[in-house]
């Protein structure tokens, strides 16, 4: 190792911020259709980043991340119908969604995050089904019909909500960066490398895992809150497992546990998905099953990993993270 060449990392954080500003400007100053396109892309980015904070860094696969998105959506709807005043800034509902999702993550994480690896992954897959069933069977949550908050929030105001979503995107990028560079982030990466060793070295693994789980849940919940504001409706289908596939593919495509990965992955994946959806409206979900298998098999480090391999081959002293 003594002869290993020193290399510098590119400033991925500024790159991400620059990109976020770019997409924000494009979305804000164009017609509604483009805004909607950028809106969906940014939503996927937020989900991918929030998943990355936990799954990417600690290496624990989470198939149940979508529940926080759904819980956030329902919380926003419930809080809006309790406050029931059209004059309140609706961003409060978004924050409420994120906060409650975070609380749920703490409550859930306590029993299931004491598990290791695979066991945890399937437990999260089960959470999905359980939460959905509980909501469908709860009368006060509108059972299968969902909750309508029409008239209580400025619905279908895509430009206004776009700003909310951009705020969350910046927040999640900055939070990711802070976590990446802090002791917390190094602890999480140590867990990914070898949990036993990390524990011996004094990393409080359970606490770290639960904390990162809750932080990820906060951002996913906020994104769900914005979704409720957009449609003025919370609906059990927000827990659709297909969204989990979206997030995971975006993350694997970009690169697990990297700063730039979720961003690149989401952009490329969303563009491809949108194009496929138009051309093969019935087959695209099947195609994505194949895509996920192929990606994991032949491309496990994602685009960031590929760029790094190319840079290494060229002998450049720069790496992307």
């Amino acid at each position: 190792m003594a002869f290993k060449k020193e290399h510098k990392y590119t400033n991925s954080f500024s790159l991400c911020l620059a990109f976020a500003v770019g997409i924000g400007v494009i979305g804000l100053f164009s017609e509604a259709a483009t805004t909607a396109y950028c809106y969906a892309m940014i939503e996927l980015m937020i989900l991918a980043y929030s998943l990355n904070i936990f799954t990417g860094l600690s290496g624990y696969i989470n198939f149940g991340h979508i529940i926080f998105y759904g819980i956030g959506a329902y919380t926003a709807a419930v809080s809006a119908s309790i406050i029931a005043s059209p004059y309140v800034n609706p961003f409060i509902y978004v924050i409420a969604g994120g906060a409650f999702a975070s609380l749920c993550a703490l409550a859930l994480g306590f029993p299931i995050l004491r598990l290791r690896g695979d066991y945890f992954a399937i437990a999260t897959l089960g959470v999905n089904e359980a939460v959905k069933v509980i909501i469908i069977n709860t009368k006060s949550l509108g059972e299968g019909r969902g909750i309508s908050i029409f008239g209580l929030v400025p619905a279908y105001d895509i430009k206004g909500l776009y700003i909310f979503l951009l705020t969350i995107l910046f927040a999640v990028i900055i939070t990711s960066y802070i976590i990446f560079k802090s002791k917390f982030g190094y602890g999480l990466r140590a867990i990914k490398a070898d949990e036993d060793v990390a524990e011996v070295m004094g990393v409080n693994t359970t606490k770290y895992k639960i904390l990162s789980y809750a932080i990820g849940a906060f951002f996913a919940g906020s994104a769900g809150g914005v979704l409720t504001l957009l449609y003025a409706y919370a609906f059990p289908e927000y827990f659709f497992i297909g969204r989990t596939v979206d997030m995971l593919i975006a993350l694997v495509l970009g690169g697990f546990g990297t700063m730039l990965g979720p961003l690149i992955g989401s952009v490329i994946y969303y563009m491809v998905k949108d194009a496929l959806l138009i051309r093969f409206p019935f087959y695209h979900q099947v195609i994505f099953g194949v895509v996920l298998i192929a990606l994991v098999r032949s491309f496990p480090a994602g685009i960031v990993g590929l760029i790094n391999r190319l840079l290494l081959k060229r002998g450049r002293g720069v790496r992307v993270e």
Partner: protein, 287 residues
């Protein structure tokens, strides 16, 4: 009335339990042998449902003849999957194996959605109902339970008394040591996976005779199987049998005294309680 309801609930619970034991055994076998959680298990169950559905409605096959055919389909699927996908991910860390199987699960669910439309279906076969006073036993449930019990006993027998079963148990304990003792581990992987998938698909055909099914319904079965596997100690088919019956009773009591819709939530609550109180399962040794 209430006593009869109670007895009826217990009987129904046992019926449900026997049906859920088979997919759980498939899952525990596959995990025990190659450390892969078969997330696509639920979708394989649904595939079995549609397999029998098709045989019965399209070709007018009698279900009793249809069941072995579905078992065969499952075995073929298992062999195909093993050599195309699974061989590369045996014993690899969770990220690769889990995501691969998750992709497979999406692929299967959506393919079935395309092939058979999102409508909820059922197999239109009804055997006569047997009654004792106010307690009734549907013929379909008796038949499926008989098949499930037979399958369970055969599997337990194979595991305990044949040399193939001994090789499997050795591999579950320690695959390196098993290799040193002359077990062809590669072959055990292939056979074990095929057996697991075949059992899962076969259980789907049994479930189709009792319950309605839809292409996206697989996740619930994955969840039930997983809960049973954890409750009955991972890699232990005997534990699966006991845990499966407990789970069946729990689901049945939920249905009788609360609402049927909450069953997955109850299964999940059992899972969480297991994790909190006895993470090694009912028959595990505390390490």
């Amino acid at each position: 009335m209430s006593l009869e309801l109670f007895i009826q609930t217990i009987i129904n619970g046992l019926f449900i339990g026997f049906l859920l034991v088979l997919p759980a055994m498939g899952m525990t076998l596959i995990f025990g042998i190659m450390r892969i959680f078969n997330i696509a298990g639920g979708d394989m169950v649904i595939l079995g449902c549609y397999g029998l559905f098709w045989l019965v409605t399209l070709y007018q096959v009698d279900p009793v003849i249809g069941l072995p055919i579905v078992l065969l389909i499952g075995a073929v699927l298992g062999v195909g999957l093993y050599y195309s996908l699974i061989k590369a991910i045996v014993l690899t860390p969770g990220l690769r194996s889990l995501l691969t199987l998750f992709g497979l699960s999406g692929l299967m669910a959506n393919s079935m959605l395309l092939a058979w439309s999102p409508m909820t279906q059922g197999v239109p076969v009804f055997y006569p109902i047997i009654e004792f006073g106010n307690v009734t036993m549907a013929g379909n449930r008796l038949l499926t339970s008989a098949f499930a019990i037979a399958g369970t006993i055969i599997l337990l027998f194979i595991m305990k008394y044949t040399s193939f079963g001994r090789s499997i148990r050795a591999t579950v304990l320690d695959w390196r040591a098993a290799t040193l003792m002359g077990v062809n581990v590669d072959r055990i992987y292939a056979y074990g996976f095929t057996l697991g998938v075949a059992l899962t698909v076969f259980s789907g055909a049994l479930i189709a005779l009792v319950y309605p099914f839809e292409p996206y319904g697989g996740l619930a079965y994955t969840l039930y199987a997983f809960c049973i596997v954890i409750l009955g100690t991972v890699g232990d088919p005997k534990g699966c049998l006991v845990a499966g019956l407990i789970m069946g009773l729990a689901l049945s009591f939920t249905g009788s005294y609360w609402t049927q819709g909450m069953s997955p939530a109850v299964a999940y609550i059992i899972l969480v309680i297991t994790f909190l109180l006895r993470p090694e399962g009912l028959f595990g040794k505390r390490s």
